[in-house]
């Protein structure tokens, strides 16, 4: 019985996790590649809301976040990602839930010292590992890889890549 936990407690746990969820997270975000030389890692955070779909192991959700990366010098970048995602809960028998997610949306980007800002397309992929802490609450860790897509703009040579990790609190509503 690898795929389904049919014990009463297991079913209840999974049922609770299958409820609509709201949550918050915070943790370090790291700029990757070219941006790594320009700005420093910093704490970020965000909130999300998720709903079940007619497909048992799939959820859909919306997320909003904020992270601001400064440097020793004048460079800086602030991000406000707003995106939707689809989550897949790995159907295995285990005390922890593993969810893979893919998302897309937009991100408000602000850069220093140019002091310019705009809305860019955003793609993300990630993994969340979580466990129950009572019927209402789950704790978890999340790992998100974000792509700020700018290469479609004339004159652009780079996209922005970030890797965020975070502690997550889920509320099963």
């Amino acid at each position: 019985m690898l795929w389904e936990n049919v014990s009463a407690s297991g079913l209840r746990r999974r049922d609770d996790f299958m409820k609509p969820q709201a949550g918050i997270w915070f943790g370090p975000g790291m700029p990757l590649f070219e941006l790594y030389d320009k700005v420093e890692p910093a704490l970020g955070g965000g909130a999300f809301f998720r709903l079940n779909t007619p497909l048992t192991y799939f959820k859909t959700g919306v997320e909003v976040g904020y992270q601001k990366h400064n440097s020793q010098g004048v460079n800086g970048i602030s991000l406000v990602p707003i995106y939707g995602n689809v989550l897949f809960l790995l159907p295995i028998k285990f005390p922890m839930n593993f969810q893979f997610k893919l998302g897309a949306g937009g991100v408000k980007v602000y850069i220093k010292p140019e002091e310019k800002q705009q809305f860019d397309p955003l793609f993300m992929a990630g993994l969340e590992v979580s466990f129950m802490a009572g019927r209402m609450v789950n704790f978890g860790l999340r790992f998100d890889y974000m792509v700020i897509y700018e290469k479609h703009l004339s004159g652009a040579k780079y996209n922005g890549y970030f890797f965020n990790t975070g502690l997550t609190l889920y509320f099963n509503l």
Binding site: L51, G73, V109, A156
Partner: protein
Amino acid sequence: MKNTKLLLLILILLPLLFTSSCDGEPLITELVENRVKVLLKGTLESDESAPVWAGGGPGVLYLDISEIRADGDRFANYRLVEKIPVNETNGFFNGKGLNYKSDDLYIDSTYKNIEVYIRKMGFNGTSPSSTTFYFDDEDVYGYDFNPMQLRVEGSTDTDDNLVFPLYVPVAGGIKYDGEGEWILEVRIVIKNNIRQYTTSGGITFWAIADNINTVTSSPAGYIGGNLASIAYAYKKGYTGTITIGGGSYQVAIPAEDDISEYVNGKIPPYISQTGVLENIPVGVPMKVYTTGSDQATIIKSGTYSSAGADVLLTVPGENANR
């Protein structure tokens, strides 16, 4: 179902987020790449017309700069540690300029001063020749005279460090517009402007000649420490030239400045020996001068004679004759 409606709403909203961002500026590229390039020069001349090093001096300049700021903005927070040969092979002394890593400035800010944080500066060729100092994680033969650059003009206060930072005035200021490619030249007159001093401990070393005070061998170890320095900023492709006849040196300064700020070597102007002054920014009125003096006189007590009416270049690539 209520949930299904919400789900539908989310699926409809997603594409909207996308379509809202189809045109714009490449901000990530703007952040990664630099528009402002910093060039360090160790010559009096603002171009490549500097004469070769006079013989008999040291063979290498040890230069350690921790960072460069513009009116306090940390736009070049990068360290430069360089052993610069005392000849014409390095951009620092041949007029081409030595690249200093930097980021960009704030757009539409006007910067009046550049601060160069010099950590160490020393020449080899000491006596006794076994004298060493710690540079770039090793002991090198030479003498670091930075700790002696402590006094301002006419002062005996030894607490004022002249080189950490060295305040470099920007002639005409930097009026950065965030467009194109900008060059910021920071010039400190070192080439053919050095002399020997002796410490109270009997070490004879080479250092930069003070450009303001007359420094005698007494008190031992006193080197003055004032450096003649200037910075210029211009946008690449938005400059022209000024051709001036006569004199051993041809000189230009922004018309808003007074030439008295430049005489006696306080700060070096745009200055060349070729008769053609390069990299003159378009749209900035310039006063033009000549002088018949040599470098040593210019630095110590130079005066300039007017070479005609002010010049205002209006088109990139333009040359004005005077």
